[in-house]
Every structure is written in C-alpha cells, then in structure tokens.
C-alpha cells in the first residue's frame, strides 16, 4: 500500500530512527499493528533479503536494516501479542553446546521475525536437553540450530538425537546453519533442512512450516 512505502524504504536503507518514528505515527493514527507489520516492515525486509541474495547488499547493510527492523518490531510486539495475532510459525533458535558464536544466529532470528515468525532465542552454548525442554514449553514448530566450529557440529547431531529420545522429534522440524554446515550434513544427522544464509533461512522456514 502506498502509505507504507516510506516505512519500507527506511527499513531498506537501515534508518532506524525513521522506522521508529513512522511506526509510531501509524500506531498513533490508529493503524492496526498487523497491517503495519504486513505492509510496512515485512515487505521492506523482503527487499533487503533479495538485495542480499542478488549481491547488492552485504553483511553490514543487512545488519543495519536488521537493526532498523528491530526498532519497528519492538513497538509492534506488545500490540501483536495483545491482539492475539497468529505468527507464521514459532521458531526456537540457538547456538549449540560448546559454541558461543551468535552473529549468524542473531541475523537469522531478526530475518525470521521480519518474515512474520515468532522467534524464541535460546542463546548460545545451548545443551540438547535445553533445546528439547524449551521447544516443548513454547510449543514451537521449528527448531533452528547454529554452529560455527567443526568441533561443535557434533552437538547438532546430539540435539537431533535428544529430540528423538524424547519422542518429540516428529512434532517439530529442525533446520541447521553455520559456516562448516552443509545440506549433506543436514541429511546425515537427520535434520529437515539447511540454509546457507539468513535470507535463505526464511525460505527454508516457510517451506518447513508449510506456508
């Protein structure tokens, strides 16, 4: 919609103050939070993802836009929760046990939030049992595992196994990502998918959520 173009452009160019100002103004004008999300923030972030895929945007630009998006989302979040708007799906993300790298994981989280997903962030160095427990508590649809190190990739497998032994493996989808991770590895450990960057992670999550 025409009136959200400026908000979209502010996301695309990473102007966080402008995003905050415009989001607040729409709220003050009585626009529903869901509409601002669906017609302002999400389309803006979709352009960012596309520009990244097409090699026009790189990590600094993505981070800048992600930060701007966050400002808008934080304003909308309490209203979305209060109005009981259903997210696309619920995703639990975390960096696996032994690994404390979180830049990639954080970028995936914000892109997912910008794609209309509800994201629960388990943080870093997350044990398999914690993933299982948190997934249950929040009844998530998807679990996203991140690892940067070859030494911590086996923690991904252990986490998949933990869901199996718990009996909750078939209730959730598991997607994995991180520098040393591949599609082949995802298949080997019995994960449902691998995405090689934050932008493709959204597509993967959509596929897994069946939307």
């Amino acid at each position: 919609m025409e009136k959200y173009v400026e908000l979209q452009e502010s996301i695309i160019s990473g102007k966080k103050d402008k995003v905050g100002e415009l989001t607040q103004r729409f709220l003050d004008d009585g626009r529903p939070a869901k509409e601002i999300l669906d017609e302002g923030l999400i389309p803006g972030m979709a352009v960012v993802g596309r520009k990244f895929q097409e090699g026009e945007y790189f990590i600094p630009e993505m981070l800048l836009s992600a930060r701007a998006l966050n400002v808008g989302l934080d304003l909308l979040k309490p209203l979305l929760e209060a109005s009981d708007v259903k997210p696309v799906a619920k995703v639990l993300v975390g960096t696996v046990k032994g690994d404390i790298h979180d830049i990639g994981k954080n970028l995936v989280s914000i892109m997912l939030r910008g794609g209309g997903f509800e994201v629960i962030d388990a943080g870093v160095d997350v044990s398999p049992d914690t993933f299982v427990q948190m997934a249950k508590e929040s009844s998530v649809d998807i679990v996203g595992l991140s690892a940067l190190l070859t030494t911590t990739m086996p923690s991904m497998q252990e986490t998949v196994e933990a869901f199996k032994s718990d009996g909750s493996r078939d209730k959730i989808k598991i997607m994995i990502g991180g520098a040393p991770v591949t599609t082949e590895y995802a298949e080997k450990i019995g994960a449902d998918g691998y995405a090689q960057n934050a932008s493709l992670a959204i597509e993967m999550a959509r596929n897994l959520a069946g939307v």
Binding site: G14, G55, F58, I59, P60, E61, L63, L64, R67, K97, G98, D99, I100, H101, I103, N106, V124, D125, L149, T150, T151, A179, P180, T182, Q196, N197
Partner: protein, 426 residues
C-alpha cells in the same frame, strides 16, 4: 637440492623449486591447535606421553611448532616470535595447565583462569583479574572468543582517538627482541622467516574488541563495527588513516631492527569473505581498505625485500584483483571450499600474480571428518592444481583444528612429502 629458504624464495618468485615448500606454524593463521600438536608429537614419538606442549597463542590455543617437529615434517618456514599475546600478557613465566580435552600444556604466567560456576573459563587483559574479562571459553571448548566490552558511545559525537588507543609505536624492547630473534633464526636455520607485528591490518574483526585493553573506548562491538562500515565510512576511514601513520612509522622501525632477515610479513588478516560470498561489498574494500593496504605494501616494496601476505577467510574471488593491485604478493588461506573459489580458476586467473599460501586441504570437512585416502586424494589434487610454475606454499586452509584424527594429519604430510616433488603435473 635446495635448502628451505631457497625453496620458499623460488616459490615466491613464481618459479618451480625442487619440491613444494611447506608451512606449519609460520603465523597465527597457518598453525595447529595445541591438542593436535600434542597428538602429532606423540604419534611421531617426539615426546614421552604426558609431555606438555606450549600454547604460543592463547586466543586460538595454537601449539608451539618446535624444531624437532619442523624437521620431522620437512617444514620450510619458521615464525619470527613476538613477545605479546592477544590478551596483552607476555609469553614468559610458563606454567602447566590442562585443556578441557585433557591435553597437558604450558601457558604464560598471565594466563590466569579458573572455571566459573557455569563451567566457562575467562581470560583477562594483561592477566589482571581486577579488570573486566575480555575472553571466554565455554565448558568443553577449544578456543577463546572475545567478550565484547562496549561502553556507551554517542553516535553523533564519535572520537577517532577512542578507536586508535591500541595503535602505538612498538617498544624498543620489543624491537630489540625481534632483532635478536631474526638474527638467530637467519643465522642458525635455513628456513624462510615469517613475521607478524601488531597494528598492520585494518579493521580486523578479531582485533576490534581489543581483548588486550582493560577499558577499550570507541566502537568495540562486532556488529556495531560492521554496521559502521555501511553507515559511517568516513569515521572508519579516519581511524584507518591514523592507524596507517603509526603502522608506517612501525614498519620503518621494524626494518631498522630486522633488516632483510625476514622473508614474509603478515600485512592484513582482516576477513573479507564469508563461506558463501563477499562479507562486504568489493566497492567498500576498494574505497575504504585498499588505499591503506596499498600504502603499507608500497612502503615495504620500496624499502625491503619482504613479501607481503594477506589472510582472508572465505570467498574472496571478487577481491583478488584488488588485493593484487594493493600490492599483496601472497594470498592465504585460499579457502577453496567457499563459494566461487574454484582452484583451477584461481590458478589460471591469478597464479602468475599472487602466491597461494594455503588451499592444501580443507579443514572444515575433509581433514576432520574425511578418511586418510580422501585426504591423500585432495592433497594430490591441490598439488597438481596450484603447484605448476611455482607460486604455491603448502598449508592447510587455516589452522589445523582440534579433534582432527591424527592419521588424517599424517596422511596429509606424507602426501606432501611423497608427491610434492617437481615436476608435479602428473
């Protein structure tokens, strides 16, 4: 037969030596994790069981590559030792310690850490436990990562001074140490000497949080730094300009101390590549980084016989023409498993202009998870691709990691030894 130094020099001038030269431990990006060094020394029967290995780099936990290991493997490069570490403390007063995986090691006196209640261990700038910790390793981990200490800053009133505190003239004592070490290694070994000094690389994200400073000011958060490249490039350029002046003064002082008794110098370790493509826009490299890289490289080429070395992980195909124009002689680690990094294309497009120092075997997949036969096949393929015409120094793609099967490491070095003689084409 050539000696090691002649062998490396030939390779660096794009001529075929007698065999492909080999580096292990020449720098902080061409080394080996201490756990693997320990296992390798045991496998080669260089030490009785339980003999500790020195951690010469306490951030990545790199193990010391001693002369007996160099001889056993046929390594052609040695590191010019420095005095300092990423956490500021000096490499002195060695004391025993044990890694999480049980490897007996020796660490510097300033390596002061006790497990926290949550099992993590922390590292402190200068080993000073009264300062906020600057490094952490999770329980069971193998490396430290920096703890970001980002103090509040006013984005509308940023001061270059705050972000250049760490760039200062090298001390006379450190230069004297380098001078002595360079002379010792030059006179008593026939190896090529690889030197690294602080403050030459611009915007290296491992250095931005400055884990050796007790109270770093300015922009120290990793995401904020990357964002700054896109949102405030003039500020970043001002930091680089100030850093560059200090670096040029240091290069003169280093040259006065070591002369041409070093052969390779690490000029940049900043990562410009991701697994999947460029980290930053090539245009940003061209405008923001390249002019400063070029000034340092130009000074080196005009005044010394040193070869200039750039390390950048990931997919860097898009940057290589600019690296070459900026005056880099050597590219590392040649991460051929990253996107758009086909070895044959790299060699054919750039092989006459830049030396490939690395690319020998993949350390994310093949070396840790492959079989010895897979490793032999990959090493042989790389020798045949990168070797012809010289311009290739064998090294793994970045440091050899922990938890790597030692038979795989042995298979790699055996293949280099047995199949690395020129001519290598068949």
């Amino acid at each position: 037969m050539l000696n090691s130094r002649q062998r490396v020099e030939k390779a660096l001038t794009h001529q075929e030596p007698d065999r492909i030269p080999l580096d292990l431990g020449g720098s902080g990006v061409t080394g080996m994790h201490v756990s693997t060094v320990y296992k390798l020394r045991q496998a080669l029967k260089l030490d009785p069981p339980g003999t500790p290995v020195k951690i010469i780099e306490p951030y990545q936990l790199l193990g010391e590559i001693q002369p007996d290991l160099i001889d056993a493997l046929g390594v052609d490069v040695v590191e010019l030792p420095g005095t300092g570490t990423m956490f500021g403390f000096k490499k002195t007063d060695w004391k025993p310690w044990t890694t999480f995986d049980g490897t007996p090691v020796l660490v510097p006196g300033g390596f002061n850490t006790e497990p926290e209640p949550d099992g993590r261990i922390l590292m402190y700038p200068d080993g000073d436990k009264s300062a906020p910790p600057s490094g952490q390793m999770p329980h069971g981990g193998y490396y430290f990562d920096t703890i970001i200490r980002q103090e509040h800053f006013d984005p509308n009133n940023l001061k270059v001074d705050d972000n250049v505190e760490e760039f200062e003239l090298l001390s006379d004592a450190d230069l004297q140490f380098s001078a002595l070490q360079a002379r010792r290694l030059f006179d008593s070994t026939d190896k090529a000497i690889f030197a690294s000094f602080p403050g030459l690389g611009f915007g290296d994200i491992a250095q931005v949080p400055a884990p050796w400073l007790k109270h770093p000011r300015g922009i120290r958060d990793i995401e904020e730094w990357y964002i700054s490249l896109a949102s405030r490039p003039e500020f970043v350029s001002d930091i680089f300009a100030r850093q560059c002046e200090v670096a040029l003064a240091n290069l003169q002082r280093i040259y006065a101390a070591v002369g041409n008794r070093i052969h390779v110098i690490m000029v940049s370790g900043t990562d410009f590549g991701l697994q999947t493509g460029p980290f930053i826009a090539p245009k940003v490299y061209r405008e923001l980084f390249k002019p400063y890289n070029k000034r340092l490289n130009d000074w080196i080429h005009e005044n010394t016989s040193w070869r200039t070395f750039i390390h950048s992980c990931g997919s860097v195909m898009a940057f290589i023409p600019d690296f070459i124009e900026a005056g880099f002689d050597i590219l590392n680690p040649v991460q051929v498993a990253a996107a758009d990094m086909d070895p044959t294309e790299l060699k054919s497009r750039f092989g006459s202009q830049v030396v490939f120092w690395g690319g020998g075997v993949d350390t994310q997949k093949t070396l840790p998870f492959g079989t010895p036969d897979e490793i032999r096949a990959e090493v042989l393929e790389r020798i045949r691709t990168f070797g012809p015409g010289g311009g290739f120094v064998f090294n793994t793609i970045h440091n050899v990691q922990p938890k790597v099967p030692i038979d795989n490491v042995l298979a790699m070095y055996e293949t280099v030894r047995e199949r690395g003689n020129y001519p290598v084409a068949n």
